[in-house]
């Protein structure tokens, strides 16, 4: 079972080595990188390339580790017992499976994506140590142990909002998705929009990297934003010549796809103002 990238996803060699190591040694793979560099997409593509099902667990700030295993609905059981419902005799009726349980119980190998693990509470990763390490957990209510018949491929993404505990990191393989260079980005654009006008792409990407290099941006535009922007440029049928920026008007065409907060737009307007003053 080897991951070699897919038709819709350009994977560098270092990414492939990391994914394959995680698959072969059955360890979780922790993926970090700037927002919009395709961390979540990686899990989807690995699942597709290997022909496996994907189970997604999207972590929020209120998510607790236990919810990934199971939840015991004591209130329903109490209510059913009051109403004389026969179901309440079996405690298993009130145990709701979490995503980890689903992944462990699947009869085929699956890809489990734990998305944005850094969103949760600071102790969240610690609570999952044993479960991810041994791929088993104990259900106190029923006294059974859930063990993964087929160890799932676990891919964990993080946006670096919180640092993860060392004990957790030790159990993972790690990969940092770097922002692609121009050549790779060109390949990515080609994969997404085959048959696009090459001179437009070149002009757009050149300008895109110039924008990324402006210092003081609050949020640098990333791969997914570049793709959106190029799609808009194509949709509006803008020619490469139109893209050439006049220093007096520093805001790029259709900048809404690239600059996502008003401070950044102001920054560009200020730069344009300064350019006008110099003349």
């Amino acid at each position: 079972m080897r991951f070699e990238g897919t038709a819709a996803y350009v994977a560098d060699k270092d990414l492939m080595v990391a994914v394959n190591a995680a698959i072969a040694l059955e360890r979780p793979l922790l993926v970090k990188g700037e927002p919009g560099t395709g961390k979540t997409e990686l899990a989807r593509q690995v699942a597709e390339a290997l022909g496996l099902d994907l189970i997604e667990w999207n972590v929020k700030s209120t998510t607790r580790a236990q919810q990934g295993l199971y939840e015991y609905d004591a209130v329903s059981r109490l209510r059913d017992s009051q109403l004389g419902d026969e179901r309440f005799n079996d405690i298993g009726n009130y145990i709701k499976r979490g995503k980890l349980w689903d992944a462990f119980a699947a009869d085929k190998k699956v890809v489990l994506l734990i998305d944005e693990i850094d969103k949760a509470d600071i102790e969240f990763p610690n609570d999952l140590l044993q479960e991810l390490d041994r791929m088993e957990f104990f259900v106190y209510e029923t006294g059974e142990t859930i063990r993964a018949a087929q160890r799932p491929i676990v891919i964990i993404t993080s946006n670096n909002e919180k640092e993860l505990p060392d004990a957790f990191l030790r159990r993972c393989f790690f990969h940092y998705i770097r922002f692609p260079d121009m050549e790779t980005l060109q390949k990515i654009v080609d994969v997404h929009y085959p048959g696009i006008k090459q001179n437009l792409v070149r002009a757009a990407l050149t300008q895109f990297y110039e924008i990324r290099e402006v210092s003081g941006l609050k949020k640098k535009p990333s791969t997914s934003e570049a793709l959106d922007w190029i799609r808009l440029l194509v949709a509006d049928d803008i020619s490469p010549e139109d893209l050439r920026t006049d220093p007096k008007n520093a805001l790029p065409k259709l900048h809404g796809a690239l600059l996502k907060n008003e401070q950044d737009v102001h920054l560009f307007e200020r730069l344009a103002f300064m350019a006008r003053r110099q003349q």
Binding site: V17, A21, A24, L78, E163, P165, R170, R171, C172, R178
Partner: protein, 396 residues
């Protein structure tokens, strides 16, 4: 067989453990990468490094340990005629990292090193190879190329001689990420966790089991009770010194600020410069037009707030002790008066100082502020932060 590599990683302060080393060996055994140096590099990086900040240091160690991968080639393009000029040019180009700077200091400082180099250049007129004093190649003198003196100054060697074998790691693309910060925000958050006081407030969202049992027993039917979630009710006021000498500490202060913001719901912050006077501000860009009177702040926030001052307290003693001592404006009352008012309003106040504690004795004003705060000044390190939170949480 990779143990020396592992030990060097440890020595370079990359947090690797035996567990990670074993998983690297396991990965090699399972034949993930056979006869492929680049693949081996990627596998080792993925297995041993868990934080992008460490990748640059990892690359350096990797290139250092595996530099024997390609045999040494003798004629690496040194043009004898151009040597001295070239040497000096390369020297000027050399970027010194922090470790290297320390090494230079060990040799008596950069200037001393350059001086010695100049002397030796004058003494020596011919190309030299081997040996331990002269400038040449493959020797152990601190000057020259292809040598093994780690304190050496590389001269006339255009690129790493191992470039062909060792390519990816010598690019060191992760350079930006490497920062040897003492405090990560996780550590700060854990330290700040001490400052917690749990109170139930807000919407009833949590199932209250004892309450439900009690109500059910009382009413004779199932009466589900809920209660608000527990929240951290500590209230915190932070005053940050900005500008001037504080510019050296921006990073650690920023980290403290972001960790505190994430950890406390009731947190307010204000800025001041050097010492607290009659005005503070919330936005550094509009500090001159939008100052808030310190009296308003004193009146607005009750004595249950805990107060943290962050500043290096390094200034002229007049700025604390005398009316009109401020460097920026005319202050009618001395800084010490304002600090005394703060302490009267908020008894639970401490001062965090990013200056290393061992230097405190050299600055008179630090001692003065420390006295005003009755000794409650702590260094901005993990240990200091812990002591500070302990002090702050002594009284609720």
């Amino acid at each position: 067989m990779f143990l020396p590599f592992f030990l060097e990683l440890k020595a370079a302060k990359i947090p690797v453990s035996l567990r990670e080393y074993l998983s690297l060996l396991e990965g090699l055994e399972s034949g993930l990468v056979d006869y492929d140096v680049e693949g081996f590099y990627y596998l080792a990086r993925s297995a041993l490094v868990k934080d992008e900040r460490h990748i640059d240091r990892f690359d350096q160690v990797f290139s250092h340990v595996f530099k024997g991968l390609e045999a040494l080639s003798g004629d690496a393009g040194i043009d004898i005629a151009n040597l001295p000029e070239d040497w000096l040019r390369k020297l000027a180009e050399k970027h010194l990292t922090d470790e290297e700077k320390k090494l230079v200091e060990a040799l008596g400082g950069f200037d001393k090193l350059m001086e010695t180099l100049r002397e030796r250049l004058e003494e020596q007129k011919a190309r030299h190879q081997g040996g331990s004093k002269w400038i040449g190649t493959a020797g152990t003198s601190p000057f020259g190329a292809y040598g093994y003196n780690p304190e050496g100054v590389r001269i006339g060697q255009h690129e790493s001689r191992h470039r062909r074998a060792v390519k990816v790691w010598d690019k060191r693309e992760f350079r930006n990420f490497d920062d040897t910060v003492e405090l990560g925000t996780r550590n700060i958050k854990v330290a700040l966790k001490r400052l917690r006081r749990w109170v139930r407030e807000g919407a009833d969202e949590e199932f209250d089991l004892p309450g439900t049992i009690h109500a059910t027993a009382e009413h004779g039917y199932l009466d589900v009770r809920t209660r608000p979630e527990r929240r951290n009710a500590v209230k915190l006021l932070m005053f940050f010194d900005v500008g001037g000498s504080m510019d050296d500490h921006i990073r650690s202060v920023e980290e403290l600020f972001s960790a505190a913001r994430a950890e406390f719901r009731h947190m307010e912050y204000f800025y001041f410069h050097n010492c607290l006077y009659e005005g503070v501000w919330k936005d550094n860009r509009r500090r001159l037009s939008e100052t808030l009177p310190t009296f308003d702040v004193l009146n607005k926030y009750g004595p249950d707030y805990k107060v943290v001052f962050v500043g290096d307290a390094s200034m002229s003693p007049y700025e604390i002790a005398m009316p009109g001592g401020s460097v920026e404006h005319w202050n009618n009352e001395a800084g010490a008066t304002w600090l005394a008012r703060v302490l009267a309003q908020w008894p639970q106040a401490i001062w965090l100082n990013p200056t290393p504690q061992k230097h405190w004795g050299y600055t008179h004003s630090i001692g003065m502020v420390r006295d005003i705060f009755a000794g409650r000044m702590y260094p901005l390190t993990l240990a200091g932060l812990e002591a500070a939170t302990k002090e702050l949480s002594r009284r609720h």
